[in-house]
């Protein structure tokens, strides 16, 4: 399946976190790869978005938006450094 990259999540994540999240740096819990959210592989041709590690393809983040809430799963990340 075709993916895009984390740049495409800038609006959705920016609205949630209130800061520019594509330059946040995540560490993959599976392989330890460290990099910006912008470089993650994003599968978003579905009601939600799945963000995968560009090195090992593990699922790092999942974001599903409903009409009055957003569901965010970060369990694939060891850490996420957010710019403030």
């Amino acid at each position: 399946m075709e993916y895009v990259d984390g740049n495409a999540m800038a609006g959705t994540l920016g609205e949630l976190f209130g800061v520019e999240m594509t330059i946040a740096v995540g560490v993959c819990a599976a392989c330890g790869n460290t990099g910006e959210v912008a470089a993650l592989h994003v599968y978003n041709r579905a009601p939600g978005a799945v963000l995968r590690c560009p090195t090992c393809e593990s699922v790092l983040m999942r974001v599903v938006r409903g009409p009055d809430r957003t569901w965010l799963d970060l369990s694939g990340l060891r850490t996420l450094q957010i710019p403030v």
Partner: protein, 250 residues
């Protein structure tokens, strides 16, 4: 509709189309008036939200084409099976209102103080954020050496062709190189194939000049160019990428 945008908080804002400019048979530039828009940085994008009468909503991201300080413009290419782009390219009229959210993105960004030399590689409508960088550079930073490699299917599908040729003529530090992958005009002496390692070796700055590269286009184009540049010795951190999927997109 939420009220006034609070500084630093990203919200949907009403935008009025003030001008539409046909760029190619499939691409159109849309200039918007947004009363409380924050100034963007070259390379950033925005999200468009359309709401149908029955409440159905669709959102898409599009790169900003204008330089900071210029009227806010995006360029949209029509995807024939698209849900949003045919409306934006064919239907939206000056005076119509839609909603915009942005500017967003902090990774695929170039500002004159980042210096260069810069190597910009565009696949199709991936040229849009790179055009914002070229325009920014022309206004404020024309001494930064820049090369744009633009892969298009045909010459007619090259967006901003007149402006690119004018900039390249006026500015000795800017080179524009096309490769036409599907069809070439008679007498074409330029590149006529998909970007490969050899083509990059001939057009990109040598790695020892510490260039900064920005690559935007369909995912397969971006992967090929980014790998090719790393193969030429570019550090991966100096190759900024933005992928928009199989076709079209932003």
């Amino acid at each position: 509709m939420a009220g006034t945008a609070v500084l630093g908080r990203l919200t949907w804002q009403p935008a009025e189309l003030v001008e539409a400019i046909d760029e190619t048979s499939r691409a159109r530039t849309l200039v918007f008036d947004v009363p409380e828009w924050m100034q963007h940085r070259a390379g950033q994008h925005l999200d468009v939200r359309l709401t149908a009468e029955d409440g159905y909503r669709a959102e898409r991201s599009y790169s900003i084409a204008s330089a900071p300080g210029e009227p806010l413009a995006i360029t949209v290419e029509r995807l024939d099976d698209g849900e949003v782009s045919p409306y934006l390219v064919d239907e939206l009229r000056p005076g119509d209102r839609i909603e915009l959210r942005g500017p967003v993105g902090g990774y695929f960004v170039w500002e004159p103080d980042r210096g260069g030399p810069i190597f910009l590689a565009a696949g199709g409508s991936g040229v849009v954020p790179l055009m914002s960088m070229a325009r920014t550079r022309a206004l404020d930073g024309a001494d930064v050496p820049a090369r744009l490699l633009y892969s298009a299917r045909t010459l007619d599908e090259v967006i901003y062709r007149e402006e690119l040729e004018r900039l390249a003529t006026e500015q000795p530090e800017l080179d524009v190189v096309y490769t036409l992958t599907r069809g070439q005009p008679e007498g074409w002496t330029g590149y006529a194939r998909r970007v490969d390692g050899e083509l990059l070796a001939e057009t990109a700055w040598p790695a020892h000049e510490s260039p900064l590269a920005y690559v935007c286009g369909p995912t397969s184009f971006v992967e090929a160019v980014a790998e090719g540049l790393v193969g030429l010795g570019y550090p991966p951190k100096r190759v900024k990428t933005e992928r928009f999927g199989a076709t079209g997109g932003r």
